[in-house]
């Protein structure tokens, strides 16, 4: 149960504020912002504020999305993961309705946002966060903002980058956009997004490697038909009794082993154990995780304060790039210089490739008529989450 919900800009401006229960004093947005902005770890070191903290009996929860702070307050000892998840969902629902999530779009559409907030939560209790369910309660129409000027959000945003075959509309289109009925395009997007994390030791040995992936689906189909997605037939979940040796030998031959996975509420798993198909009526989100020896080989450098950044727009597979850097110290330096100058962190995106080998074998949409043939987009992308080589 939450007491208030608000969205603040990076400067601390109040963009949206909804007080559901009137239990928390009015100045809470300022109290929150000051605390986050000047967070001190152990009262001395400046550090990033944790997502949950308590000031004078009020618990503040926040998540950062698209440069905005989504905040909830409560005086009750609630489940933190519930509130944090809720904040993420509210942000997602708002984005679904506005097309883009930004300070500008929120300000332009605040009446719609309040409308959503009133239906999502009543007196602090969550009623629904399903974009689909909420559609029947929402009457305002979104005022679109120009998406082109916005910095891309999340991995799916790479599909916006002008590739002709891949329309980027899924990322910035409102689910209730007022298109003329006849012209509305029937389409569905299935994105397989994998984030890989690898750490190499200074001797080049792989210390840790992991892939976290999600299958995200966004449907603009009318009438919410049933959708079936078939994955690799040789898909195993959990190591079971198999040895690591078995699993290594099987990569590359089409078999995929997931350590664990979870599924969105709306996914029906009736036939998943039999033929690896997922069926669902509206949105889907499945998350999986696995650890094969990753094989993405592109490079890219990162910067900020005390960092060297090296950007490469594109790297052709199999090519090699070199950067020479000279370090000059302002004073005599005693420590281990090689160690101090590392690590090298790489951020990269490989479109149309996924390291795990997980595939969507087919995407079936329950037909309404013989002429019904919506656009289906199945897209793969691999992204570096934390790709680090130590020196």
């Amino acid at each position: 149960m939450i007491s208030q919900f608000f969205v603040l800009s990076q400067r601390g401006d109040n963009i949206v504020l909804r007080d559901y229960r009137g239990e928390v004093q009015k100045g809470s947005t300022e109290i929150f912002f000051r605390k986050v902005k000047f967070w001190k770890e152990d009262g001395q070191e400046e550090a990033q504020a944790p997502p949950v903290f308590n000031v004078d009996g009020v618990n503040y929860f926040h998540v950062k999305i698209a440069g905005l702070l989504f905040v909830a307050t409560t005086r009750v000892n609630v489940s933190p993961s519930l509130v944090l998840e809720l904040l993420q969902r509210i942000a997602r629902v708002i984005k679904d309705y506005l097309g883009v999530l930004s300070e500008e779009s929120l300000r332009k559409n605040f009446v719609l946002v309040y409308e959503l907030l009133d239906e999502i939560i009543d007196f602090g209790y969550v009623q629904s966060t399903s974009t689909e369910v909420l559609k029947s309660y929402i009457f305002n129409e979104p005022i679109m903002v120009d998406a082109a000027r916005l910095t891309p959000l999340g991995p799916a945003a790479i599909f916006m980058q002008g590739s002709k075959r891949m329309p980027g509309t899924a990322v910035t289109k409102s689910v209730i956009a007022n298109e003329t009925p006849g012209k509305r395009r029937e389409e569905i997007f299935v994105d397989i997004i994998e984030k890989i994390s690898v750490t190499f030791s200074s001797s080049g040995y792989i210390l840790t490697s992991e892939i976290d992936g999600t299958i995200q689906m966004k449907s603009y189909l009318t009438g919410s038909p049933e959708i079936r997605i078939a994955l690799n037939e040789e898909l195993n979940i959990g190591r079971g009794g198999r040895s690591i040796y078995d699993y290594r030998s099987s990569t590359g031959s089409g078999a995929v082993i997931l350590d664990d996975c979870n599924f969105h509420e709306s996914v029906r798993l009736d036939s998943f154990d039999i033929d690896r198909t997922l069926s669902l009526v509206s949105e889907i989100l499945a998350t999986f995780e696995l650890e094969p020896g990753a094989s993405g080989q592109t490079a890219d450098f990162k910067e900020a304060n005390k960092k060297i950044e090296w950007n490469l727009k594109k790297i052709i597979g199999g090519s090699e790039q070199t950067l020479r850097a000279k370090l000059t110290f302002s004073q005599e330096f005693h420590g281990n210089i090689t160690k101090e100058s590392g690590p090298v962190s790489m951020t990269f995106i490989i479109p149309m490739y996924n390291a795990s080998g997980l595939q969507v074998k087919y995407l079936q949409i329950a037909k309404k008529s013989s002429t019904y043939n919506p656009y289906r987009w199945v897209r793969y992308v691999t992204q570096a989450n934390s790709y680090v080589a130590r020196l």
């Binding site: 109040n14 504020l17 229960r21 009137g22 009015k26 300022e30 770890e41 070191e45 550090a47 504020a49 944790p50 997502p51 949950v52 308590n54 009996g57 950062k64 005086r75 009750v76 000892n77 489940s79 933190p80 993961s81 519930l82 944090l84 998840e85 809720l86 904040l87 993420q88 605040f110 009446v111 309040y114 009133d118 009543d122 007196f123 209790y125 009623q127 629904s128 966060t129 009457f139 994390s197 210390l207 976290d212 959990g238 664990d260 979870n262 599924f263 969105h264 509420e265 499945a286 999986f288 995780e289 960092k307 005693h334 420590g335 281990n336 160690k339 101090e340 989450n385 934390s386 680090v388």
Partner: protein, 835 residues
């Protein structure tokens, strides 16, 4: 409601200042109010939007109330919604105007469109105006019976809103009974979920003054309701599932079959994409299996993978929440996660708060088999440019060193940190080396050699400086320059801002003096003189104390300040096991992330349902808290009793701030020292009675008198004590006796009806004032009174049915009769078949 009408934030210059624009709006609204021209709704929409946007940025548009209400006569839902938003925002501050809206809201509650009915009802209930509650009852009652589930959903929450405005009206209208019926019969799951939330809130609030409400609240945990909800759980939204799972976690099944049935039913909830559902399910599993050791262990195995997936797949914020819970589990079962340590390696781009928790996890899972790799990884972070993480990593290495038996490799690496010549690394490392030496004195040669090379000028952080000074004092015989370094520090006494450092300096000089007196005499003199003149009370007291001790007898002074020490075997855990258990009971809540039970950060009226006997549970733990605070304050200086003789006294200085000590008043030397002594003796008696400090100071303080032969004790059967006084007494009195007794199997069985035990004890003139806890931990507070005088006994009795132990803590006005009372109490328990 939407933004505050009177925001403290002034509108930015580019925004309208208000007045002129508001009166413009007013006249425009007026024009549109009666108009039926085509397109008028669109113009109204634009105007309404303007009004709402002014409201959002904090301009007071409440003067438009009348016009807004006039314009609301429309069938346009968008307009209506904006109007409701406006009305909801201003009704509370303008109750008279709010009355204007009642009419149109009530009319809308009967609209043929269910959306409008629902919206109007929600707005009506959100007005929060006490004088208008009578208008709510009718629409609410019909809303609860509405054929449309949206309206019912809104009406149920409306009942809760009404309860918060006027609980009497709500109870008089008998709404809770209607909700109870609805909860069991409505087809719409969100209506059911809202009924459950509402009833939980209402019954919990009512329970404190009505026995019936308390029974109703407990009935929410009854088997039929729990099964009813569990069987339909998949039809509920993910959020409502969390609500149900939270309730199920409190349910006490009657046998193991039931436990397995529930777990099988909920098994697939562990694969839910929503972390909140997964954690709520885990809580159910953990709570249900508490008394089944093997199964409990299997549960840990089962939940590992889903938890690790949640950590790496969600947002960093979600990872943080899950990691906090993993940490709690790891602390309870470190072995279980020891092979998964690589999951807790920090990733380059993770935020600080995630990394910090991961470091704590690495510390917790470190054991013989993985320590080498973990420490190697941590050393990488210590060289990180991110200073807070570098610090935390060094602390983690130190903690691992303190919990391991084989520390060779770790000590080497800690000493390498000192060679990095970075101030913050050096500072953190010094603190650790000090702790390490207290546990492993055998390493002193290696460490001292490196520490001796550090210039005290490069160490500025008080903790680190204090650690360095401690080592200089402790190992002054092995460190050539020790007296001279200490001397230069003493000479610069006034530049030292931290009282902690000055306190340590005094003690270190004393120790150094006992070993190398000719070289230290001068420095000690400087420090004592400066210390006695110090404005800081603790420093002043310590200096004065040392001075008198030295004057009295140097060899006794040495025995007090620098007695032979034993190595610390285990550093005290700052958290009592009772607090840890309470946090575990509050799994999947903020308590886990704050590492505090909820009563420490939540007001009473905001506690959740089913938190029994808070007051008294509270009070017993408060005692722990203060004890814990003392421990925490002392932790850097002394953590084991065996060392208390050393820096014990002064370090306890922080505990002196106890109520009886008023530092501002007692500046005269004699009163200061006697206060000090009185407070000290208590500590010393526990710590090392052999020191005979009483005589040393010649103040004729007697030791606690030996208990006189106990007279036969009889208790007053009609003793009375109100809970407030009980709490106060419990807080004030020391524990005069605590003991642990085995509980017989019959006793365990009898606790299914704790009432029987209470009745029985009452028959023995021992009265129960509060009970609490839940299986397997039952808690009772009893009191008794001597029959011929007012002297009372207070007892806290915790019975754990799974370990079959009863823990008693007895506090008494008359300490001498504690023993006799405890005999009475025990015999009463055994007569009941408890022992």
């Amino acid at each position: 409601m939407a933004p505050p009408a009177h925001s403290s934030r002034s509108p930015s210059p580019s925004q309208p200042s208000g007045k002129g624009e508001v009166s413009d709006l007013k006249s425009q609204l007026r024009q549109l109010a009666g108009s039926r021209a085509p397109g008028v709704d669109d113009s109204k929409r634009d105007l309404f939007k303007k009004v709402i946007s002014y409201m959002t940025i904090g301009i007071d548009v409440s003067s438009l109330f009348g016009e807004m209400v006039m314009c609301s006569a429309t069938s346009d839902v968008v307009l209506k919604k904006m109007c409701y938003l406006y009305v909801g925002n201003y009704a509370k501050v303008n109750p008279d105007l709010a009355l204007l809206t009642i009419n149109f809201l009530q009319r809308d509650c009967k609209d043929e469109d269910p959306m409008i009915r629902g919206l109007a009802l929600r707005s009506l209930c959100s007005l929060r105006v006490p004088i208008l509650v009578e208008y709510l009852v009718g629409p609410l009652a019909s809303g609860l019976k509405d054929s449309n589930s949206y309206v019912r959903m809104v009406a149920v929450i409306g009942v809760l809103k009404l309860y918060h405005i006027s609980s009497v009206t709500c109870m008089d209208a008998d709404f809770p009974a209607i909700l109870k019926h609805l909860m069991l019969n409505d087809r719409d799951t969100q209506v059911v979920a809202n009924c459950l939330s509402t009833l939980q809130e209402i019954w919990t609030a009512e329970a404190s003054n009505s026995g019936e409400a308390s029974r109703e609240r407990d009935a929410l945990l009854s088997k039929p309701l729990i099964y009813y909800l569990l069987n339909r759980i998949k039809e509920f939204s993910e959020w409502a599932q969390c609500l149900i799972l939270e309730l199920v976690a409190k349910y006490v099944p009657s046998d193991t079959n039931e436990i397995f049935d529930i777990m099988n039913l909920l098994e697939d909830r562990l694969q839910h994409a929503n972390g909140a559902v997964v954690l709520a399910t885990i809580k159910v599993f953990l709570q249900l299996t508490l008394s089944m050791t093997d199964v409990h262990q299997q549960v840990y195995e089962r939940i590992k993978a889903p938890l690790l997936t949640l950590v790496s797949s969600g947002s960093p914020e979600q990872s943080y929440a899950v990691l906090g819970h993993l940490h709690l589990l790891v602390m309870r079962a470190p072995m279980l996660f020891s092979s998964d340590y690589k999951h807790f390696y920090c990733q380059y781009n993770e935020p600080f708060y995630v990394k910090k928790l991961k470091l704590e996890m690495l510390t917790a899972v470190a054991n013989e088999s993985n320590t080498y790799e973990i420490v190697t990884e941590l050393c990488e972070y210590a060289a990180n440019v991110d200073i807070p993480i570098a610090r935390e990593s060094i602390r983690a290495v130190g903690k691992i060193a303190l919990q391991q038996y084989d520390v060779n490799a770790i000590v080497d690496r800690l000493l390498q940190f000192l060679e990095m010549e970075k101030d913050y690394v050096t500072a953190e490392t010094l603190v650790l080396v000090k702790d390490l030496l207290r546990k492993y004195p055998q390493w002193s040669h290696d460490c001292i050699a490196v520490v001796g090379n550090i210039s005290s000028k490069n160490v500025q952080e008080p903790k680190a400086k204090a650690a360095l000074i401690w080592m200089l004092g402790e190992y002054s015989q092995d460190m050539q320059d020790a007296p001279y370094i200490l001397e230069s520090l003493a000479e610069n006494w006034d530049d030292e801002h931290s009282p902690e450092v000055r306190l340590h300096l005094l003690t270190a000089l004393m120790k150094c003096f006992f070993k190398r007196s000719p070289e230290t005499r001068k420095a000690l003199g400087i420090a004592l003189a400066a210390g006695v003149a110090d404005f800081h009370q603790d420093v002043h007291d310590r200096a004065l104390f040392y001075y008198r001790l030295l004057r009295y007898n140097i060899s006794i002074a040495e025995r007090v300040v620098n007695p032979p020490k034993q190595a610390v075997s285990v550093f005290a855990d700052p958290q009592s096991s009772e607090i840890k258990d309470r946090i575990f009971d509050e799994f999947n809540s903020l308590s886990v992330l704050y590492q505090k039970p909820s009563y420490m950060f939540t007001d009473k009226e905001h506690r959740g349902p089913f938190e029994f006997s808070d007051e008294l549970g509270n009070l017993s733990t408060e005692a722990n808290v203060s004890a814990q605070k003392v421990e925490a304050d002392d932790k850097d200086l002394l953590l084991s009793i065996s060392e208390k003789g050393d820096s014990g006294f002064p370090a306890n200085g922080s505990a002196y701030n106890a109520p009886s000590y008023d530092s501002s008043k007692s500046l005269s030397a004699s009163s200061t020292s006697s206060d000090l002594v009185i407070l000290e003796t208590g500590v010393l008696h526990q710590a090392s009675p052999s020191l005979a400090i009483d005589d040393l100071l010649g103040l004729g303080l007697s030791t606690t008198p030996a208990p006189a032969p106990a007279p036969p004790l009889s208790l007053n059967p009609k003793a009375v004590l109100d809970p407030g006084t009980f709490q106060q007494k419990w807080r004030q009195l020391p524990i005069s006796l605590s003991l642990e007794l085995p509980v017989s199997p019959q006793g365990v069985a009898a606790l299914t009806t704790p009432q029987a035990l209470i009745m029985h004890m009452q028959g023995n003139s021992i009265h129960c004032i509060a009970t609490g806890g839940q299986s397997p931990n039952f808690k009772f507070f009893f009191f008794a009174q001597k029959s011929e005088e007012l002297s009372k006994f207070l007892v806290e009795c915790i019975i754990n049915t799974s370990s079959s132990k009863a823990q008693l803590k007895i506090k008494a006005d008359d300490q001498n009769s504690t023993q006799a009372f405890s005999v009475l109490f025990e015999s009463a328990l055994s007569k009941f078949g408890m022992l």
